[in-house]
């Protein structure tokens, strides 16, 4: 996800870094990645403490890691969920995006070893919510990373669908 967003930001003329948080990774455990996008070169190497936008593949996670409101009426929160979870009542982003990315991912055949690969499709939902980058940039980035991979076309289709089907709610 981080590399795709970084290529997309580059296509849109932005400076970017993608900072994964490393530790004792294992399948199914929570993972986190910080993306910094700016109009000027990025010199900040530390993880993001106060993000403008949060994108979550698993709607149970955000309240576990962010106990307090980060948004104060600004930024966006995009969730892989079809219903608004009540645990998110504390958050006040400017825009809230909801999309059942899981279902779209599975229906486009983006499943590997029994797991839906929701990461890239999630980015369509994010761009529908945030306008941070263009969809042209996202498609460019998918081409850059997936090349001739068998999942290339399915990812293109999936992000178009998640972009269209995301319900964006303003505060």
């Amino acid at each position: 996800m981080g590399t795709i967003l970084a290529y997309a930001a580059t296509y849109d003329g932005k400076y970017v870094v993608s900072i994964p948080k490393y530790g004792a990774e294992r399948r199914g455990a929570p993972v986190q990645n910080s993306i910094k996008i700016d109009d000027k070169p990025i010199k900040r190497h530390a993880q993001i403490e106060n993000a403008d936008d949060i994108v979550s593949l698993d709607s149970s996670l955000v309240p576990r890691f962010f106990k307090e409101d980060l948004f104060d009426g600004k930024g966006t929160l995009t969730l892989n969920a079809s219903e608004y979870p009540s645990a998110y009542d504390i958050y006040t982003p400017e825009k809230f995006g909801l999309c059942n990315v899981q279902e779209i991912t599975q229906s486009e055949g983006l499943v590997k070893s029994g797991s839906a690969m929701t990461g890239i499709p999630m980015l369509g939902a994010y761009l529908a919510t945030s306008d941070a980058l263009t969809m042209d940039a996202l498609h460019y980035a998918i081409d850059q990373v997936f090349g001739k991979n068998k999942y290339l076309e399915a990812n293109h289709k999936a992000v178009d669908r998640t972009y269209r089907e995301t319900k964006v709610r303003r505060r």
Binding site: G2, T3, A6, Y7, T10, Y11, G13, K14, Y15, V16, V17, S18, I19, P20, Y22, D39, I42, K43, R44, H45, A46, Q47, E49, Q144
Partner: protein, 385 residues
């Protein structure tokens, strides 16, 4: 904003990707390497290329870091352009051979992906590993971002193999902060690197048709002469590194033009001297401090630790009212390595600029610019004898 032309060329590479790709462009003939976090992706990438025939190199899989550097010693002594990568305990485990490469004057390049040392068990960045090889007779270059890591690899090969220098060279990148962070890199072209980096032309090499011996019994007088020659070669390396950085700057349009990089107010009340990624974070802190009405702030980043940039450090001490030196490591029972070297040299140069010490960022401790702003203000209060 990026120009459209840059946008098309840019790759999103981790620091390890940036190093591996630059190594391929530099056409090494032998690589002997053993994996250790966080340097593993460099040699994994290269060994994949070698296995698929995408890189024409003799890749030697070895059973330890000690064997890896032993392989590099043999390869360089036989006249091959040689590369390896390691980190942390791996560097310590190969240290006997690191000194052998240095003191035998065997040109090669090693990427050191800086990581803390045991114990406790910790895989994240600091500079204890880098400082451990400071007296091994190697050039030590430190990159601040993935682009610099990429561009410094051909410079490292070139200066290392220069007959006027002829010592091995290490390019250091901060573990995870660069090695695993994906950033924007404009790749060097094969033509640029081929034009920049001539083929390795060994002064001596192991050759059955013309036998020579490396490291035979050396009596005290000659041994001292060898070390003195080595010292003088490292002194000459400053000039060749400067020229290498300048040439790379001209070829790429990126500014790698000296042994140090100066940021912010050149004659600031407070100047911060540091190495690697924390120097970029420092630039952000400097910008904030300069708006706070508590004096003027500037920063000087050392791109080279060996040879030590004496002239540039003296210049910094003459420019700044006081200096804060950041070390990402300790020297137990003494002061930290970088601040000690700077104080030592300024004393020798009879310069009395106060030099204060900040040790931070060890074992991967996050050091955001916001924290640096607070820490610099605290360190400014230190009493200096």
């Amino acid at each position: 904003m990026l120009t459209e032309e840059k946008t098309k060329n840019i790759k999103i590479w981790t620091g390890n990707d940036a190093v591996a790709n630059a190594v391929r462009l530099s056409r090494p003939e032998v690589i002997a390497a053993y994996p250790i976090t966080p340097s593993t992706p460099i040699i994994k990438t290269i060994s994949n290329w070698a296995a698929k025939g995408e890189m024409d190199v003799e890749y030697i899989s070895v059973e330890s870091e000690h064997a890896a550097m032993a392989g590099c010693v043999g390869a360089s002594a036989a006249g091959g352009r040689t590369f390896t990568a390691t980190a942390s305990q791996g560097l310590l485990y190969m240290m006997e051979m690191v000194y052998m490469a240095g003191f035998t004057r065997l040109p090669m390049t090693m990427a050191v992906v800086n990581r803390s040392l045991f114990a406790g068990w910790n895989i994240w960045v600091d500079h204890h590993d880098m400082y451990s090889m400071r007296d091994a007779g190697w050039i030590q270059i430190i990159a601040k971002n993935n682009q610099e890591a990429h561009d410094m690899i051909p410079v490292s090969f070139k200066v290392s193999e220069n007959h006027d220098v002829y010592v091995p060279s290490a390019v250091n990148i901060d573990g995870f902060i660069l090695s695993h962070v994906a950033g924007q890199v404009e790749p060097l072209s094969q033509k640029l690197v081929d034009d920049f980096l001539p083929a390795f032309d060994p002064i001596f090499k192991l050759d059955p048709a013309d036998p020579v011996s490396f490291g035979s019994l050396t009596l005290p007088g000659r041994y001292a002469k060898l070390r003195q020659d080595h010292l003088e070669s490292m002194d000459r390396a400053r000039k060749h590194l400067r020229e290498g950085f300048e040439e790379m700057s001209e070829l790429t349009g990126r500014n790698w033009g000296s042994l140090v990089e100066i940021y912010g107010e050149e004659n600031a009340d407070v100047g911060i001297i540091s190495l690697g990624t924390i120097a970029e974070e420092t630039e952000e802190a400097v910008d904030i401090l300069n708006t706070m009405g508590i004096g003027s702030f500037g920063a000087t980043r050392l791109r080279s630790f060996r040879p030590f940039p004496f002239e540039e450090v003296v210049d910094a001490a003459r420019r700044y009212g006081q200096i804060i030196v950041i070390d990402r490591a300790y020297s137990m029972g003494a002061n930290a390595p970088l601040v000690t070297e700077i104080r030592n040299h300024l004393q020798k140069a009879n310069i009395s600029t106060p030099v204060k010490s900040l040790i931070t960022g060890v074992g991967g401790q996050e050091v955001p610019y916001t924290l640096l702003v607070k820490m610099f203000q605290e360190v400014m209060k230190q009493e200096v004898a």
